[in-house]
Amino acid sequence: MIPELGQLALALGLALALAQGLLGLIGAARGENVWMAATRPAARGQFVFVAIAFACLTTSFIHNDFTVAYVATNSNSALPLQYRVAGVWGGHEGSMLLWVLMLSVWTCGVTLFSRHLPQEMAARVLGVMGLVSAGFLLFILFTSNPFVRIFPAPADGRDLNPLLQDPGMVMHPPMLYMGYVGFSIAFAFAVAALLSGRLDAAWARWSRPWTTAAWSFLTVGIALGSGWAYYELGWGGWWFWDPVENASFMPWLTGTALIHSLAVTEKRGAFRSWTVLLAILAFALSLLGTFLVRSGVLTSVHAFATDPTRGIFILALLALVIGGSLLLYVWRAPKIGLGGGFEPLSRESFLLANNVIFAAAAGSVLLGTLYPLALDASGLGKISVGPPYFETVFVPLMAPALFLMGVGPLARWKKASLPDLASRLRWALAAAVLAALALPFAMGRWGVMVALGVLLAAWVAASGFVQLYEKVRNAASGVSAWTRLQAVPRATYGMLLAHFGVAVFVVGVTLVKGYESEKDVRMEPGDTVELGGYTFRFDGVRDVKGPNYVAGRAQIPVTRDGKPVAMLYPEKRIYRVQNQPMTEAAIDTGFTRDLYVSLGDAVSDTAWVIRVHHKPFIDWIWGGCLLMALGGVLAASDRRYRLAARRPREEYAVAAAR
């Protein structure tokens, strides 16, 4: 009964989404106030029904209802409760339902926080989101229905993929989808602006907090995926330039360009075409990512179960949504007009360079990801494109971006002065050069690439401190430093924190790549191996039992200079239902290094292959990402967005009439 209710709820949600979409867009075009006013309740109703459908699916999982085919393929009676819940989004159908749920949550959020928007704009934004939602609900109902029953029902389920039975993996899809879906709001704002022909600073100010929040979620989602790969896959790697990883990275790169472009549009009214195009592209890349991982077009460790029908449907959806919005762009963008002019050397020009760099980076990742497909499609053979290409192309693009990160926030709008910038930043440059020269030696040996990475990271951090220092110093005298610090807008702190997070990230990547080491050894109980100044001793393997697996667990005490540092227990598990072996690495996490041990295979009755890694500063990678996301949250919660919310609508109408 419950699955059928869920399916019914989805159908009702679809009806409401269509209503929301059509009422919103047609109502705004025709100026029908009643229709426009109806979009909000329609959106909220859609959320209610999609939530009901999601609850039905979750209930089926919790109660082990194996008459539902999706539950039977993704769950098992021995699966612990939290993973039965996580199993809801463990496969294609359920993850699409999660996608639509997130979309309806964000849409609801827009209905709640858009009181200050002119009715026409709000109706258009909700209208676009309604149509996107309708498209996905149609996709689910017609090709990816999670409520399909299976008869006769299997006695037990096929179990959730063991790789997904993990806390990091539980949070990764929801965070990621919050990001992808959040970009649909920026997209909806862009399309609404194109439709209405009005694109100005006010529009940018409305879009910004939503876009920044979405970007923050996406950052966390990608970081979770990377961190999970690190501790779960057993090789110590954290980014593989896998097509699905790239599919999440491209919207992130475009989104980063977008949040910076929005800043210019809000402050100076410039970059309007760029901002609109970036908003369309960020969401387009999110949709493209959805297509790539579910259509079977690319091989990837991540790919969901594939089906050509689904691929065709998503491709059609892609064509409609993105093709439609890009056509709208061709039609309306020429009328958007230019904003305030600026000199070749100014904050605007730095941000323009930033836009170009990030767009180029996203483009290069796209090229590398689709190149194997292009070659295969033209019959030129089968190749794979991996880290060698991506690292060669991506890293050099980021170097100038990092340099700009230091200079940009200090440059004046409209016209900056090079001597002025140089004098303000000379100590930051000196600090950066010093760090680049000294830190590699402190780590053990000096290398050009490491020095370069440290130079850029230290430059970003140091210039951030200069910015903060200037804010405190330049305030009116007679006011305490603390008061001055409080007067700095939250958005500025957000920026400083996010940029600092980037610096932390770059330090982590540079030092790990420059100084990591590993050893693969065959060990008998009692043997020791030395790495990075640490001594690892193998104490043998014991059999242990988990809730739905059996494992061999090794005991490995780690010492340094004779003093105990950690006790590590790497495991080799076999999950009973799918008979799938899995390595559970043991990691001793530290601020300045990780010690990573994974169990290989048994090579005799007592001897095992053990792999030990020393990874200096690797947690700075995810720490940096977390700081970036926190910075984004800070920026999005700046008072001026909430104050603007209380500003009367008439102000906008007056501004538009001018």
Partner: protein, 175 residues
């Protein structure tokens, strides 16, 4: 005006590429052995371990070599197609029992029916490696001079037999 049209132009090209991509299989690795002589082997037969069989025994004849195993799920799918093909007499079908246990292979044929003139037994899979087997079931068409002319990766379907396999066999028979 034109520069605004660049994004949609790129997008249309991308759509076309993805559309073509849907019809392709990225996991399929085409065989480098097409047009090359079938690798030599001498293996015991499945039913009579004392006798051996080699591809040289088939010189002068067009034949089909089908790689199968009792543990292979897709092989069950294609088995009726093979039975029909063998019954039609159009081309002799020989089986390569790949990485299997003799008892399991024999039991499987007993239960499912035996379309093979002879089944050969490749216990450790070395012959499979020589032939580039990576996804059982696989089927080869080998001509009179012992050259591999066609490889099908995956189960045979009636369409493939009718449209690819049989016309090829007829063509090779005439040669």
């Amino acid at each position: 005006m034109t520069r605004f049209a660049i994004p949609i132009a790129i997008f249309v090209a991308l759509l076309a590429l993805l559309g073509i991509g849907l019809k392709l299989d990225p996991r399929e690795v085409p065989s480098p052995l097409i047009g090359k002589p079938a690798p030599h082997f001498e293996l015991p037969e499945l039913h009579q371990a004392a006798r051996t069989f080699s591809e040289r025994d088939m010189l002068g004849k067009v034949w089909v070599l089908n790689v199968w195993a009792s543990w292979c799920v897709s092989c069950r799918e294609e088995h009726p197609v093979l039975l029909d093909l063998a019954a039609s007499g159009a081309v002799p079908v020989y089986g390569l029992n790949y990485k299997d246990r003799r008892e399991d292979g024999l039991a499987w044929l007993k239960g499912m029916g035996d379309p093979y003139k002879i089944s050969i037994f490749d216990f450790d899979g070395r012959v499979g490696i020589d032939y580039g087997v990576y996804g059982v079931p696989e089927t080869y068409v080998i001509d009179k001079s012992g050259i591999i002319r066609y490889k099908r990766i995956g189960p045979l379907t009636p369409e493939i037999v009718k449209e690819k396999l049989l016309p090829l066999v007829r063509e090779l028979d005439r040669a």
